[in-house]
Symmetry: C2
Subunit: 232 residues, 2 copies
C-alpha cells in the first residue's frame, strides 16, 4: 500500500486503485403502502460524481435512492429506498472504501409507524403524523474504524456557511460541500454552484456550472486532497 | 346538441366531439422548500386513458401532477404540483367537459404549514407534523352544476368493493374504477386489473392486462355508457 500511496502522489487528480462510495438521490419514508415522505433530490449530482470518479480511475459503488437516471457503465449500483436501507448499504460498502461522498438527500425523519394498509381519511379532522429521526449516514461512516476520506453535503436555504461548518465539525467529516438550495436553483436542475469547506480550514468555491463539470472539479479536488495525505 | 347526441348513439365507442378531462399522477404536498409528502402513482394509468380518449376522437385536457411521462400529442396538458393546484385546474377545465375521469392519486392530506425555509432537525426529538385534509377534487366536480359523466378511482389495499361502493355514493359519481394496490401490483407497474362499479348497479371486471390496453377498454366502456344516456 505504501508504494501505491507514493505512486498516487505523482498522479494528481487520479483515483486509480481507489474504491469510492457515493450516495445519491432522495430516500422515501413510507407512511403506508402508497404514501411517503421524500424530497426534491433528482440524484443528478451524485450520479455525476460517480461518473467523474470512474473517469478518474476509481472503482465506484453508487448507493442510490429512487431516481430516474441511468447509472454510469461499470458502476456497482446498490438501489435502496428508505434512509434505513441506505444506511445499511452505505456502511457495508464503506468498510473497503478510500473515499465516501454523501451526496444523497437523506430524509432526516421517517414516520414512527409505517401502516400495513392504506390509511383511511376521517373527514374534517386534522391528522398528526409522528416522525422520528433517521440515523445520520455520513456521520456514522466518519465514525467507522479505519482511515477513509469522508465528504458530506450541506443543502441549506439560509445561513449556508454557518450551518455547513457546524455539520463539518459535528459529523467529523474531512470536507463538506455546501450548496444553497433556496429558490429552486439546485434540486432537479442541471446546474449547481458550491463551496467546499475542509477540516484543515481550507475553502474552495466552485462558480455556477453544469453538474457534470462541477463533479469533475470536485473529484479532482478530492483526489488532490487524498494525494496530500502522508503515506503511512 | 340533440342531433349530435343521437348521432353519437350510432357510433358506439366514439368520443368524437366530446371534451374529456383526466387527472393523472401524484400530487406533492410541501413540508418546506425541499421536503414533501407524495405517493407512488406514476401517472401511467391517467396518461394511457388520455391517449385512449384521444384515439376515440375526444378533445382531451390532462391535469397532471409531477410524473416522468411524455404527454400524448394533441393533449392539452395542465401541469400542477399540489392537490390545491390540481383542484383549481380540474374544476376550471371541468366546466366545459362531457366526461371527467379522476385518475390522479391526489394526496388526501397536506401539511398545515409549508415552511418557508428548510426545517432544521433537533437531535433526538420526535417531530409532530400536523396534516389537514385536501378538498376532494372528483366529488367537487360531481357537485358542479350541469351534466357531465364523472368517473373516479378507488385504490385500496383491502375491502375493495365495500370502500369503492361507499366512495361511489358519497361522491355522487357515475362510476368508480376500483383497483387493489396491495403488494405493489399496480403503482409504478405497467399492468393493472380493475372492477368498474356504476351508479345504476352495474359491475364490469377487466382482467389483468397492460395499462394501455386496459385504458382502451375503459374508454370504450365510458363511451358506451355516455351513448346510453337519453338525449334531452
Amino acid at each position: 500500500a505504501l508504494t501505491e500511496c507514493i505512486a498516487a502522489q505523482f498522479q494528481l487528480g487520479s483515483l486509480a486503485g481507489r474504491h469510492v462510495v457515493i450516495t445519491a438521490g432522495p430516500t422515501r419514508e413510507a407512511i403506508d403502502p402508497v404514501r411517503y415522505l421524500t424530497n426534491r433530490s433528482s440524484g443528478k449530482m451524485g450520479y455525476a460524481l460517480a461518473e467523474a470518479a470512474l473517469d478518474a480511475g476509481a472503482q465506484v459503488t453508487l448507493v442510490s435512492g429512487p431516481v430516474n437516471l441511468s447509472p454510469p457503465p461499470k458502476v456497482r449500483l446498490v438501489a435502496v429506498e428508505s434512509a434505513l436501507e441506505m444506511h445499511a448499504a452505505t456502511l457495508a460498502a464503506a468498510e473497503s472504501a478510500d473515499v465516501v461522498i454523501g451526496a444523497a438527500a437523506v430524509a432526516d425523519y421517517r414516520p414512527q409507524v409505517a401502516a400495513q394498509d392504506k390509511l383511511k381519511k376521517h373527514a374534517g379532522e386534522p391528522m398528526q403524523l409522528t416522525l422520528v429521526e433517521n440515523p445520520d449516514i455520513i456521520a456514522d461512516v466518519a465514525a467507522l474504524p479505519g482511515l477513509r476520506f469522508v465528504v458530506g453535503f450541506a443543502a441549506e436555504t439560509q445561513h449556508l456557511e454557518e450551518y455547513a461548518q457546524a455539520k463539518l465539525k459535528l459529523k467529523r467529516l474531512h470536507a463538506i460541500i455546501a450548496n444553497n438550495v433556496a429558490d429552486g436553483g439546485v434540486f432537479e436542475q442541471d446546474e449547481n454552484e458550491v463551496t467546499v469547506f475542509s477540516r484543515d480550514g481550507g475553502t474552495v468555491s466552485f462558480a455556477r456550472r453544469g453538474k457534470k463539470q462541477l463533479a469533475r472539479g470536485l473529484i479532482q479536488w478530492i483526489a488532490a486532497a487524498l494525494a496530500e495525505k502522508p503515506c503511512d
